[in-house]
Subunit: 109 residues, 2 copies
């Protein structure tokens, strides 16, 4: 074996897992951080910001894009990446709900 058994879990669980997995690498968290720090959708220079080879960064960007966390649009001979708010809102809402439920729990450990 080795393949994840996604079919046994709910869509919501698979959804949160997919987004979490995409953020499960420091380089990808760093990319999100960088896209947040520049007040614009950035064309190019993400590669220069990260201590990784261009091919590796490209792969990380692809994963973030596949998970729906960022979008890229072609802008001349460069590509303009920016954060997809919807996905991050989904995460925010999930953890807000979790925190809320934790606060209501009577029996703590």
């Amino acid at each position: 074996m080795g393949a994840t058994k996604t079919e046994h879990f709910t869509d919501k669980q698979n959804d949160i897992a997919t987004l979490s997995k995409a953020l499960g690498h420091p380089a990808r968290v760093a990319i999100i951080d960088y896209l947040l720090s520049v007040d614009a959708c950035i064309c190019g220079d993400i590669v220069n910001e990260l201590p990784l080879a261009q091919a590796t960064v490209s792969q990380h960007l692809k994963e973030l894009k596949n998970a729906g966390l960022i979008k890229g649009s072609i802008e001349g001979n460069a590509i303009c990446y920016c954060i997809d708010e919807k996905a991050l809102q989904k995460m925010q809402q999930y953890f807000a709900k979790v925190s809320d439920r934790l606060a209501r729990k009577k029996s703590k450990c």
Copy 2:
């Protein structure tokens, strides 16, 4: 190669990545969901809740514990698992901050 280059990223980035990675599998999201749904720290029966073999569930629990998302305390001949609020609060705060920064961004795509 193949090993993650954690040393090139900030502690905060590695921290969020570690927690995200731990939630990057539907079974582990399901475990968190289940621990939230029962208003108690559960001893046993997590295995029965999941469509996976006991050994596999045990492994997932170990990963959640290593990431600091859950804690387990021995309770007789069973083990009592419960959510570690601190880790989930950290995630909640991170995404709240991200959402806040997104809301302030002037230039959208």
